[in-house]
């Protein structure tokens, strides 16, 4: 009996019809990309959290703001996260002060606007790739299901042409079709979990940034 070679994973995939193979390929690519993004986002969000923690510690340790500003801008790489918000706000504040003869409220308004812009940029960075994960999570099961339905349709069509229908004639077709659903689910489940986790982390970070902005505005107001 040729039992050895009719059910291996490779022959199941290569025996599938072209649309099913395409679906599998698409799903494999999406799965690879979504996992790639997941790992990237894990790293970046973790880094943003530790950086804002560090910066808050430095900020509230009571040092001179000018010194802090210099240390933030001195680094080779562009400040990120909370540091970039601080940098934008303080730069604006110093500029207004150097120009002199300006109302306090105007100065505050200007630095606030600068901080808001930096905050939006930061948030945009944090939110990157999340829509991709969301759509992978919601769409890839459907793509997999499409491949499965197509494969099962094919195998049943083949069944109709033989006189004596046995289960072993449809079983390989259904098995190979179900692989598409399996890949789709494998892509979707981590994507949904990761999306929810990242969304909540980004929310918490944005709240942290916002409260820092408010507090920093107060400090600047006191200084001017």
């Amino acid at each position: 009996m040729n039992a050895e070679n009719d059910m291996s994973l490779l022959s199941l995939i290569s025996g599938a019809s072209l649309p099913v193979q395409l679906v599998m390929l698409i799903l494999l690519m999406t799965s690879l990309f979504s996992w790639w993004y997941i790992f990237i986002k894990v790293a970046t969000i973790k880094r943003a959290e530790t950086e804002s923690e560090d910066f808050e510690n430095k900020f509230w340790s009571g040092g001179d703001l000018n010194k802090l500003y210099e240390s933030v801008t001195a680094g080779r790489r562009k400040p990120q996260g909370m540091a970039s918000i601080f940098e934008a706000g303080f730069k604006e504040f110093i500029r207004h002060k150097q120009q002199g003869r300006m109302e306090v409220s105007d100065v505050m308004e200007g630095s606030r606007r600068a901080m808001r812009a930096a905050y939006n940029r930061e948030l945009d960075d944090l939110d990157a790739h999340l829509p991709f994960l969301a759509s992978v999570g919601s769409v890839s099961p459907y793509i997999g299901l499409f491949g499965t339905v197509w494969g099962i349709m094919n195998s049943f069509r083949g069944l109709s042409s033989v006189a004596q229908a046995t289960l072993s004639q449809v079983a390989p077709g259904i098995a190979e079709a179900l692989i598409a659903t399996a890949i789709g689910l494998f892509a979707a489940i981590p994507a949904v979990i990761a999306y929810n986790r990242f969304a909540s982390s980004v929310d918490r970070l944005s709240v942290r940034y916002e409260s820092f902005m408010e507090e920093f505005t107060n400090i600047l107001q006191r200084k001017s």
Binding site: N2, M7, S31, L32, T44, Q80, D125, Q164
Partner: protein, 262 residues
């Protein structure tokens, strides 16, 4: 696609993503048994018994030995005859005593006799039962023998019943189909010279699969050719079979005369 600050992580993340997929693939390969198991054999065995003609004597009915009739015929003591009233009490009493003694003796004798009879009957019963069982056994054996004989007849294909012309044509057609399918799978290079004839005994299941390895009855003279044909038979499973179970019986063990170069 990627932000500037993400470039540092991209290689590591890509490596991790590929690792995750390889892990899943490995888990799938390890945890699933991708080899297909064919539990067909059991099914066919059941079907084989289905095909037995109903004219066969039913053998399972064994004559049940009748429950032992326990004969406990206790002879009823004979009603005492009415004693004629005699005036003399003494005589009367004496007579009565005598009578009683007699009756008792009689009673005892009768009881013993009854016991004996019962014992005898019981023994007889036992013997009867044994005999009946023996008879049943013999009957069963006979029926079995007959069945086996019938089966043998069927298997050897030397059925005394002459198949109808339609059946014969269908058998011929499917034999040709089987041969054609096998021929398509034979490596002709190995059987190149001449027109050798091989004979194989092959057993077929109702699904068209082989019930066992094909047995070579007559070789072509070249071992390579024999092997090639044997491999071709194995490769052409499932073989085409008629859907009619009555005709399939002829294919259960098939003597295949085969010329690869025809």
């Amino acid at each position: 696609m990627l932000r500037k600050h993400e470039n540092t992580d991209s290689w590591k993340a890509g490596f991790l993503a590929i690792t995750v997929h390889l892990l899943l693939l490995g888990a799938m390969l390890v945890s699933f048994n991708w080899k297909a198991a064919h539990p067909v054999l059991n099914v066919t065995e059941v079907e084989l018994w289905d095909k037995l003609p109903s004219t066969k004597p039913t053998i399972q009915v064994t004559p049940k030995p009748e429950p032992k009739a326990i004969v406990e015929e206790k002879p009823e003591p004979k009603p005492e005859p009415e004693q004629p009233k005699v005036d003399i009490a003494l005589e009367n009493k004496k007579k009565e005593l005598e009578q009683q003694a007699k009756i008792e003796l009689e009673k005892k004798k009768k009881v013993e006799l009854a016991k004996k009879i019962a014992q005898q009957m019981r023994e007889e019963d036992l013997q009867n039962n044994k005999a009946a069982e023996k008879q049943a056994n013999i009957d069963r054996e006979k029926a079995l023998n007959k069945l086996q004989q019938d089966l043998l007849n069927e298997n050897s294909g030397a059925d005394t019943k002459t198949a109808s012309a339609a059946n014969a044509s269908i058998i011929g057609e499917y034999t040709e189909k089987i041969k054609a399918k096998i021929r398509g799978n034979v490596n002709k290079i190995l059987c190149a010279d001449g027109n050798p004839e091989l004979r194989f005994d092959i057993g077929l299941l109702p699904t068209g699969e082989l019930s066992g390895p094909p047995k070579l009855v007559k070789s072509s003279g070249s071992a390579a050719c024999d092997d090639a044909v044997e491999r071709a038979i194995a490769a052409s499973q499932p073989l085409p079979l008629p859907s009619d179970p009555a005709i399939y019986v002829k294919f259960r063990s098939l003597n295949l005369r085969f010329k690869p170069n025809e």
